[in-house]
Point group: C2
Chain length 318, copies 2
């Protein structure tokens, strides 16, 4: 499945797309929903997105939202969705699968929505050594779509809640969530740190924040205050404060993630970043400062993963 | 100066209060302003408070705000204020004094507001070993009003931005800010963690959160997510989630503060909490879990401190 295929496929007549479509793959999250028409090889024929995320679906009318999202895309092909659509706030609550989770096992947890052609992929639940749960919905599918061989891999999925997942032999062994994205958003929009912040893109300030959090005695709840005092004392341009804050939070995540990697004896695993391109680039820069080199994965990881899971679930056949 | 004096003094006729007043002491912060009429012994004769904090003073009319705040309290006595009124956003920007700061030295930085009977106490600026500035405005005065002898003391001032200050021989040697209060507020009000939170007062959940952050491999940006997953998986009552989150943040602060204490070889210093009574009590519980026992100081620390600084500055005489 190559991205280039999507663009050329879109040039085909709609009827051709409908005829060739074997699966409607849907990445249905909290804020947005993205649908992909996939052909018999799992290639993207057409794509559609809408701000019909779970939190924007009025009165629980998920059927109506699905119809809007897939209008013109959907012939008789089965549909498979991942993400928050399977959460308690979604259409049908799909129980979490446990970890370690083999890619094939994830498919066994797929649940059909009664009266529709839609099925939903389960999220994953992982318990750490102390028994505290961590959860994901949607990222498991991106991971399945990213890891194509048996080599150990760390898949990092930046976003509101960044996930670090360890994959060995096409099995999600463990994962850990970091609230870095949401912390940045609430601090920037609602705290004193954001009050004077202007938009900027200052790689030096990002690196400075990362480095400060990487030092031995870093203490985030204290260090955050430097995003106020450095501009206050003229030691950082106000326009650089947002990148510096982002760096502080990223650095704190990386310190904790490195410890998590060591706990899982996963220092040998290659690191792949999956998600929004600009955010992945930012993570790659920060990781490099911590001597972790990462490659950036394909942006169609959800569609790829849904295709793989649909194959395992017998919804489509290769 | 005893709190009890205030209540009895208020029963005196207003004219008597005016006659006896030697200083109007004002704790003038970001959101609120509190004024105290102090007699020749520094005792509180009357008090007044108003939501006339710096951010609520319209059109820079600080003179009008001062008149409103002190109406009926103010005869010919001098006035001394501390807090954000001396910041860039306040009436007159009073330069920070450096650290270490002897209590008497703070008085040398007092600045008179032209055309008024009001003077303003300087804030303090402390640079850590890396040269990064930390700042306070108002807390230096509370510290002066709290520490009455030469013994080493750690004064902890919980609030939006909690300050830990090390005092030796009536000198503020160093201090460090933790954004714990603001982090709690923005996460509770604006993040996914607060979405389902209900008001509660669950000492067990507070302790659980503190303990979790005190463990060796604590990682705040990850651990915060447990304030979501524990209720999600039925491992914590939703009504206990706010206290658990508060505990996580408090624990993270204490871990960092203990390291800061060790860096300053201050393990022998007694700990005194100063501020809002309920918040101090919460901190005392959390500190006790970390084997730090704290006493709770007087709530009139600002008025006491302003009196001491006024004496040093020659605004009043004992």
């Amino acid at each position: 499945m190559r991205d280039a295929a999507a663009t050329s496929a879109l040039a085909k007549p709609a009827a051709t797309i409908l005829d060739s479509t074997r699966l409607i793959a849907i990445d249905w999250g909290t804020t947005s929903a993205r649908a992909y028409a996939l052909d018999a090889a799992g290639e993207v024929l057409a794509r559609r997105s809408a701000t019909l995320g779970v939190q924007y679906v009025a009165n629980g009318d998920f059927a109506g939202a699905l119809a809007t999202l897939t209008e013109g895309l959907s012939g008789a092909a089965p549909m498979l969705a991942c993400g928050m659509i399977g959460s308690r706030q979604g259409w049908v609550e799909v129980p979490y699968e446990g970890c370690p989770a083999r890619f094939e096992e994830i498919a066994t947890g797929v649940v059909a929505v009664p009266g529709t052609r839609l099925s939903i992929v389960p999220g994953l639940l992982h318990r750490d050594d102390a028994g505290i749960a961590d959860v994901m919905r949607g990222e498991e599918t991106q991971i399945v779509g990213t890891v194509l061989d048996d080599a150990p891999q760390l898949v990092v999925l930046p976003g509101t809640h960044c996930k670090w997942a360890l994959v060995r032999k096409r099995t999600i062994v463990a994962f850990s969530t970091f609230m870095t994205g949401e912390l940045f958003a609430v601090l920037r929009e609602h705290s004193i740190l954001g009050r004077l912040m202007t938009a900027g893109d200052d790689a030096g300030a990002l690196a400075r924040g990362v480095a400060w959090s990487l030092r031995e005695n870093a203490a985030l709840t204290h260090d955050l205050f430097s995003a106020r005092t450095l501009p206050l004392t003229g030691a950082l341009a106000q326009s650089a404060a947002a990148d510096y804050l982002s760096g502080l939070l990223l650095g704190a995540e990386i310190v904790a993630a490195r410890r998590w990697i060591a706990q899982h004896a996963a220092a040998d695993a290659a690191v792949t970043l999956v998600g929004d391109a600009a955010l992945c680039e930012r993570y790659a820069v920060a990781l490099h400062l911590a001597n972790l080199d990462a490659r950036i994965g394909a942006t169609t990881a959800s569609a790829r993963g849904l295709w793989q899971i649909a194959l395992h679930a017998g919804l489509v056949h290769s």
